[in-house]
Symmetry: C2
Subunit: 201 residues, 2 copies
């Protein structure tokens, strides 16, 4: 007895598994759902994927996703040119934008240094970042790479370059998240929180 | 400050939200992942969706998904023509096939009766099922619709038709799932389990 449907559906299931967090069961459910429900929506999804692949490129200044030469943030005259925030991915830009607390510019590395995967400085655009730092009047470089081993290594690498150019560098704070409980927090975060303590306002 | 990326990515996020169980955050993560990682895979997904939409149709006998006139189960000479199992969707066929316990044929309703949504007997192919029952030598009709209000109503409706044709009808058992604990089971399931009790082997 077969445990598969048709070759076209099997192929669709295989392709849906490329999506993050989607396993065999979820992919099957998604594939059947796309075919069972409104098929117009499935066609829309296929078009949206092709469209995004054709139209979306990298901003020539900050490497973020955009559809023109520059992304909307790099193009905006309202943003503060003196502050530059380095992040790993466009998701991080979205997350920071949603805080409404930052009005500077960004530089999106599109990854992090990872020698084991063969990802060196040139792959994440460090040359471009260096050039940007030399050409523009950045008075603070905020390192907002992830607090992982690779993210920290990337932060150190970039901090070194910025210091050579005499640009002050800061790192976003690591500590107890709001609503977090001390007893539940891992010791790494807790020691960051202790070392990063500030005078009580 | 914008909380969106580019129009093409926004459209992709909107379309990914059609997928079952995918909300705004997951859709954004999926969209960026499709663009950041191997773009060939994203293109493959777009092609797989279009392909499935073009090639997949309904089996002319059992209404299951297939790519030819008949699905692989209807075409197989090894299946028992005397037993017909009525299910709501192709997922249910897959689930039953995976038990390796059933060797009869299927009829896939592609839904259930739901007057409130305007879904009547003709929309789920009850006419076709009736014709199939009249033409073939079915000696047992197994009703495997879901144990929901609509699934039960659909089962009753079909049972009525089969009884008019003097075909014995059975319903799959409802009760405690294997590994389930009595204390955690809802009372509806528990009363089904009690009513459906069998002599201890």
């Amino acid at each position: 007895m077969s445990s598969s449907l048709t070759p076209a559906i099997d192929q669709l299931v295989r392709c849906l598994r490329y999506l993050p967090g989607v396993g065999a069961k979820t992919a099957t459910r998604m594939a059947l759902n796309l075919l069972e429900r409104d098929q117009g929506r499935a066609a829309d999804l296929a078009i949206a994927i092709s469209d995004a692949l054709t139209r979306v490129k990298r901003c020539s200044r900050c490497q973020n996703f955009c559809e023109a030469e520059l992304c909307s943030i790099c193009e905006s005259p309202k943003r503060d040119d003196r502050v530059l925030c380095v992040v790993e991915s466009p998701t991080d830009v979205l997350a920071i934008e949603q805080t409404s607390d930052y009005s500077g510019r960004y530089f999106v590395l599109m990854g992090h240094l990872s020698p084991i995967d063969g990802i060196g400085p040139e792959d994440i655009g460090v040359d471009k970042l260096k050039q940007l730092l030399q050409e523009s009047a950045v008075s603070e470089l905020i390192l907002a790479t992830n607090p992982t081993v690779e993210g920290e290594a990337t932060a150190h690498f970039i901090a070194h370059i910025a210091k050579d150019l005499n640009i002050p560098v800061s790192r976003i704070a690591h500590g107890i998240p709001l609503g977090g409980e001390l007893g539940m927090i891992d010791s790494g975060t807790l020691s960051h929180a202790l070392q990063g303590r500030k005078p009580f306002a």
